[in-house]
């Protein structure tokens, strides 16, 4: 059962990474214009094709 000693911390750490990522996304304004982001992804002008 000693496997739990590092599996549980790993699981919690991964969860915290996800939580941190979400809070970062929230703080950087990615949830302010949800309808707009849904449309921006359809606009492919920003995709620069590789030149070389």
């Amino acid at each position: 059962m000693s496997v739990l000693l590092y599996l549980i911390p790993i699981a919690l750490f991964l969860g915290l990474v996800g939580l941190g990522g979400f809070i970062w996304a929230l703080k950087s304004g990615q949830y302010e214009d949800l309808d707009g982001e849904a449309l921006r992804i359809l606009d492919d002008d920003d995709d620069k094709p590789l030149t070389d």
Binding site: M1, L4, I8, A11, L12, G15, L16, G18, L19, F22, I23, L26, Y31, E32, D33, L34, D35, G36, L39, R40, L42, D43, D45
Partner: protein
Amino acid sequence: MGCCGVRHEDSAAREGGDAALWVRQDDDGGFELNLIAPAINCAACISTLEKGLKEIPALTFARVNFSLKQVRVKWRDPDFDPAEVIAKMDELGYTARPFDPAESGFSRDDEEARELLRALAVAGFAAGNIMLLSISVWAGAQGSTRDLFHWISALIALPAIAYAGRPFFRSAWRALSRARMNMDVPISLAVLTAAMMSLYETANHQPHAYFDAAVSLLFFLLIGRYLDHRMRARARSAVSQLMTLSATGAMVTGDDGKRRFLPMSALKPGMRVSVAAGERIPVDGVVEEGRSDVDVSLITGESVPEPAGPGHKVYAGAMNLTGPLVIRLTAHGEDTFLSGIIRLMATAEQGKSAYVRLADRLAGYYAPAVHVLAGLTLGGWLWWTDFVWPVSLLHAISVLIITCPCALGLAVPAVQVVASGVLFRNGVLIKDGGALERMAEIGTVIFDKTGTLTLGDMKLVADGPLSADSLALAAGLAAGSSHPLSRALVRAVEERGIEPALVVNVIEHPGRGLSGAWRGRALRLGSREWCGVSERDAPDPGLPQLAFAMEGRPPVLFSFTSELRPDAAETIRRLQRAGLRVEMISGDREAPVRAVARALGIRTWKSGWSPQQKLAYVEGLTKAGGKVLMVGDGINDAPALAAGYASMAPSSASDIGRTAADMIFVGSSLRAVWLAIAVSRRARRLMTQNFAWALVYNVLAVPVAVLGYATPLFAAVAMSASSIIVVANSLRLGLMDGRLRKSFALPSGAPSGAGDNREKKAA
């Protein structure tokens, strides 16, 4: 890009305005301007605007917020003129108006939404991880492994509850400190006692830890609360956008002769305000120069425009129709027409008893009942076990946890979110959640006439001997005029398939009429006096009229009525069939009101009423026990709207009308009223069903808890199951959406979209 680039008739914005007044300086020396552009409505708009704005070299930042139809630009050069941004946007086909996000009350920095989202994320994280540990415990983890899992759960749960529970604790505390009850009181109590008891159990190596139940309860409830908040924020921002667009300022001519667009707050009495033809008059004042016809339907409900000339008093909200006017601003404050209306509204609101929301009313019974039950359980177990405190407390607290109103807490918000979503998609905005519940109870619907049952457009009355050639000549004369009666005449002639005659030398005489010539004979179209029609020749029918005279022929009169909103007749019929009393009260004269009442089959109607009379009537009905839905748009309707049990206004309403109303409908079709009532009745039924489900669940689960058989696994399963049933039941309202659209088959065969198109053109 067919869907974009609709130019809006909004000349104040076209002239650029003094955008500098709305510029904000941010902390690091840059400048920022927020603009609102209602024409942003397709994916291509985003890139068109952003790319176009990036061509202005001074701008360092330009971003479109599609949800709010706003654009934010930033720059660092202090010499840059922000009017350039507005000009550029206009060139791209978007009328933009600057606004101050802090002042207009819908900033993008919606702190409450962010707090809820953060709490939701924390609760979700905690619930997921604790559930994993709990499942291992339920699967049979024993002894020290179980204790270890419980301790880890406690370590996650306690901070998560302290953080994610704050919205509930705060609201519960607010209610308790005012000696009231709401659903958040039992929720908070259950979560806190569950956490404390679980900690105690964990410390004593016992199996009853409810950390998972406490945290997932918060998680479920936060989802409901966030969705509810988002729906309300969206409706609120749509409403305040309408406000921002209607009057942010006035075009003022200074002493130096320079014209500047000033915001409302910078206006002072004595200033000279110019109002172009086709613009809404922004302030109360006296006409100094110019002649025009003024449409006062928003203020008095009268459908005939009245002529205005020097010395004439005009009020904010009136529409200037035919000629430019210069108005000298009269004193702000106590003596304006609007402030009188606002005083009336304030008294109306005081007289209205505060509505207690369904959930709060229920909480008033539910919470005490649950707490008494827990107390009895404690007493009973103490007596049964000869005062063994830990076991008795455990059972009492498990009663609290089991009865925790997870399903009850979701019962109302879940329905509300779905209902306001259905209404939002059908063009009805709800400003306040309680409105949905009140709307379901109404028994009488009172309509205003002008602007509510009718549109601004006029229609030629078909009766009477109208010869084709006089129609053709009058239409030829009216073709160039923007007066609503002239436009109605031209429309009517075109509908009849008559070719307007070619009239030359057409001159518009604002306030009087038009003159011109056809084959050398003088023509006149306009008021009765303008064409020399006296009371003796033809009695005044009370309807708006145009007189037409040709040299050497007796004058002809054209009568008009207001055009009804699309679906008005069908809506009234449906309301009456649903057992509602339908009445109409109007400030307009008797003849037009009677005509509309007859056309729509409304038996009870009143005409020529002042705002005070309307208010008194609604208050009288309310006192007699009636529950009145007031539907109105004008400034004169605002007090009655405030006094009504529920109220609705079209989006074309006056600012104050929109402020006073609980719900606002977009688009010109009146079926929104029927729709709102139908959806709210259905919503109320679903809420009641949800409460019934939650109670059934309690009736089944409480005996188990009282008798001490509630295990953590039982609590988790029972709680989730009841929540899922309630949410699923609420989602059924969404199915109504498609059915509603289909069920409102239009009897006239007119395409349902026709009204919406007209609204777009007029906007």
